[in-house]
Symmetry: C2
């Protein structure tokens, strides 16, 4: 299809599509003339993924490009795909300070208690330490035992996630589903928590 | 204490403190002269809360002001406090379209299946419908039965949250804890989910 048709199908303007191609978020079309190129269904799908990451979650063009590079490097191994995708997503969090956050020790204890295998290059433990340190500075001091019930529930959520992810021979499709389920489901899970809080609170305090 | 001391204790510049007072995020000090005012521990605490909402979660000054107004209107009833805080937080999400999202019916079925009491004015169901509609447009179609395990886990998370919230005679303190636990714990919970995903994935696929 021509770029105008790709624009119509995806709802993304021609100018934005050309910008994404320049920034490496989308591969160029197959040239069919000096000023024309042909696009296919892979472009439509890729464009949808880019829009989801940038539009729905507000990721930067830079972070989105990193995630797409990680996906492009995936083979059909589910664990490798998920690892790459989560690693790339982690770069989306704010800049880390040099000094280890105050709560690092609690996070290490929690990970050990859960028996979790976390890759040494993962920045997730640091992000968690920083969140706990922020809370501590505001007077809410959570130690690893307090976090344990949350971590156990996270384990159960991850099992549901992996059931949803399923298996696919196509590494691109698998990576896409991993990104979508991990990133786009986050706001949904947080809203479920808020509705549940409202219900639990009513049950406890109004009866 | 003088405004310079408040600035030193909170790490917020004098100019920013004056800006927050003008915008209604912080009450003014008690005047002790034509150009001087006296501030107390309540100001330090309030300033910390403002910094957490704006700095850590990136909420707008407008949304933060709404949350603080809700807190100020709280009595010592835990459920009322939580309801007000969650209602104010919800205004922080993006603008809602007029048309009901495609997935509204699934969300209604889910809420009914869970037996959740959700206040008619709550925008949470709409936010959830929109997240599901986004996923559907990207080819991941989740119905209410698929969401049920997530909702059941959200219920368990909310119970842990309310245990953490505890009870307090001071409505301001209660509201602060509710905001901090709901808003600032979100990034921590999402990171726990990602670590758990990595571990679950390794367990399933590498053994």
């Amino acid at each position: 299809m021509r770029i105008s048709e790709l624009s119509r199908r995806s709802g993304v303007s021609v100018a934005t599509i050309k910008y994404y191609i320049r920034e490496g978020l989308l591969p160029g079309g197959r040239p069919t003339g000096i000023t024309q190129a042909e696009y296919d269904e892979d472009h439509v799908r890729r464009l949808r993924l880019v829009r989801a990451l940038i539009g729905v979650r507000g990721l930067s063009v830079h972070t989105t490009a990193e995630i797409l590079r990680a996906i492009a490097g995936c083979d059909a191994n589910t664990h490798r795909t998920l690892g790459l995708v989560l690693g790339a997503l982690d770069t989306g969090t704010r800049e880390h300070d040099q000094a280890p956050p105050a709560k690092k020790g609690e996070v290490d204890l929690l990970i050990a208690a859960m028996g979790w295998q976390v890759h040494p290059s993962s920045t997730a433990p640091r992000t968690l330490s920083e969140a706990l340190t922020s809370l501590q500075e505001l007077g809410i001091d959570l130690d690893w035992q307090t976090l344990l019930p949350y971590a156990r529930l996270a384990d159960q959520i991850a099992e549901v996630d992996l059931d949803q992810l399923g298996d696919s021979e196509d590494p691109l499709e698998l990576a896409e589903r991993a990104v979508l389920l991990t990133v786009l489901l986050e706001p949904a899970l947080m809203v479920l928590r808020r509705m549940a809080q409202e219900h639990c609170s009513a049950t406890r305090h109004l009866l």
